[in-house]
Amino acid sequence: MELSFLHKFTQKPDMAAGPAGAFSSEAADNPLVERFGGWSGMLVSLGERLQFLNGSTEEEFLAIGARLHDFYARAGEIERTSRRVTDLILGEEIGRDMGALQEILDRIADYLSHAERETEESTRTLDTILGFIDHVDDSLDGFRKIIKNLHMLSTAVKIESARLGEGAAGFTTLADDVERLSVSIKEKSADIIGEKETLARMIGETLSRVTTLEAEQRANARLILDRTRHSIATLTGIHGRCSAAAALVSSHSAEVAEGIGEVVTSLQFHDITRQQIEHVSEAMDELCALLGDRSADPSSTAAEVADVCGLQVAQLSHARDELVTAVERIVDNLRAIARKETRMSDETREMAGTADGAGDSFFAEMERDMGRVAEVLSENAAANHNLVSAMGSVVASVRDIADFVTAIEEIGSEIELIALNSQVKAANTGEGGAALGVLAEAIQHLSVEARARTGAVSDTLRKVTEVTESLSSGFDATAGTIATEVNSLIAELKGLLSSVRGVNGQLLSLLGSMDGEVQALSRDIDGATSTVGVHQTVAGVIGEAIAGLDEVVREVRPLVPAAAAGVQERRLRELVERYTMHSERKVHETIVGRGSAKRAGAASAGFATPAAVAASDDGFGDNVELF
């Protein structure tokens, strides 16, 4: 665009064109006059190109100015979004959630300590039960001996009964009864052993489950507590960062406002440069008129042309430098605004706990942690329920064993009756039944032993029953409390999760919106600044004008080194009067000399130097004066 625009200014001036009027024959013979046409043509051409430049560059400034409205409004919206993010994190809702989280943390710690103690207690109880059950084996060994003896006694009674013949007929029935008792005890013992083994296995499994549960509980407890503490510490950190971020956003806002202010100031340089170029053009027009003045002295005219052209070179250089610097400031400041907005967005995101642009936030992590806490508590409640159920099975199994023991006790009584009956029968049999009397006595001893054995088994199983039922009833009593406590914790966690999820949703929405706004703004600023080429155009045209004026000066100087002092002073005074800007006068002073400018300035109107203006400064700045 710039290059196609520039071609409008690249037409070469016609150095051969002559001034409109004709010189006297004497003047026309002067070799200087021959050059006047070329110089005049050059000045006219350069003047036209500078005028065209003045009238054709404002559109680009206006276009930037129009975008500035948009950029400023969008930067303001981004700042407001950033503040909303900060306000959201610093808001009441998060503060309330933090408090609730801290409270739940304490309650979870209490609950887990309680659960841990219960587990230890359960383990100890089950170990005790297992020890009792082992003792049952000793008692059951005794039953095996009783069974063997009963079997032998039954056989012996049968033999003795057969030897005695008719006189001991009733002993055959007695032998059968003894044998039946032996079988019955054997069966009941087998049942007890079977049930005992089932019970031992059940308790072993329950113990294993309790031990595993205990380990898991401890591990989960550490995990939960560590993570929750970490979450709270992170949230506390975020709160701290948010407080700092509020100041940061204000600082960014001030920087952006400063950048916009710089752009506003710089955009005025189109008007300033336009006026400077107009003053140069007017000076060049006057030189053209002078070159066409047939009554003027050619040497004096040539010297004046060189002096004024040299001065205009300086004025144009200054105007070009000012405008190029202003446009560069515009571009630099707009790009800096885009960078600042991006940085503010990044810092806001970081402050909110999001390390990357993946849309994840600290609150999402906290939500997951809370979910894990609820999950672990649910698992714990389920494990407790299973333990209670297992203890119920243990109790039922112990009751079954107790029933078998009762049956054996009944057998013991029966043995006793049989023994008594056999003793009576042996006594009735007389001397021949003496052997049977010995057997009856042996049966009697067995009945005593059986009673002792069943008593031992009975005692052991009663202890097992008592301990088991005590544990079971403890579990039954606490199971309800635990379930209520866990349900309450889970309900509160769910409420907290819902709140955190809501904040997280708002946060992500704001951050996403801010990201989009910042990216769009950066893209648009980049697009707007990348096409700015007005300064290059201006620099190109002014550069050519400077080259043309320099060429004129180079041609004049070897022919006419300097103008007469009086003429030079008059001309320079006229130029000073045309200046409106302090910078133009400064350039003039630099080129012509301070003394000359002061004389010229004093002869015309006074002008305020910065120092003079500063003296009347009323706080608004050097360039402002209120009357």
């Binding site: 202010g261 710089s266 005025q268 008007d271 300033i272 409106t580 608004f620 360039n623 402002v624």
Partner: protein, 121 residues
């Protein structure tokens, strides 16, 4: 209710920056391209302040001040010159015509806003 400020300048880019600065700070703005245009637009608006350039075609800033002051409704309305001109003689001329203040271009937005606040009370 927002106060209305008239900006008078033959440079569209300067009018644009004055408007931008004032609108960002809550003022309503009326634009005029020169003194003549300003005087023509003045009766249609209740203008609380005028910010004008000095050198303009048709009617310059000094002429505009005189024209505004001739209207009894605007005799005490603040008029601030915003110009590249920095000569004391010109300032004196503006002051004599009835200007309230003088700002040499380029202005910084905060300067303009401070001056506006000051003169509008």
């Amino acid at each position: 209710m927002a106060k209305t400020i008239m900006t008078v300048d033959d440079s569209a880019s300067v009018r644009q920056m004055v408007s931008f600065t004032l609108k960002q700070n809550g003022y309503d703005v009326v634009e005029a391209v020169d003194g003549k245009d300003a005087l023509a637009k003045l009766p249609g608006h209740k203008v609380d302040m005028v910010i004008t350039d000095l050198n303009m075609p048709n009617l310059d800033g000094i002429g505009l001040i005189k024209g505004v002051r001739a209207n009894p409704a605007y005799r005490f309305t603040p008029i601030v010159m915003l110009t590249t001109e920095s000569q004391d003689s010109k300032k004196a001329e503006g002051k004599a015509a009835g200007a309230t203040g003088w700002i040499v271009k380029p202005f910084k937005p905060e300067q303009l806003v401070a001056v506006v606040k000051k003169v509008l009370g």
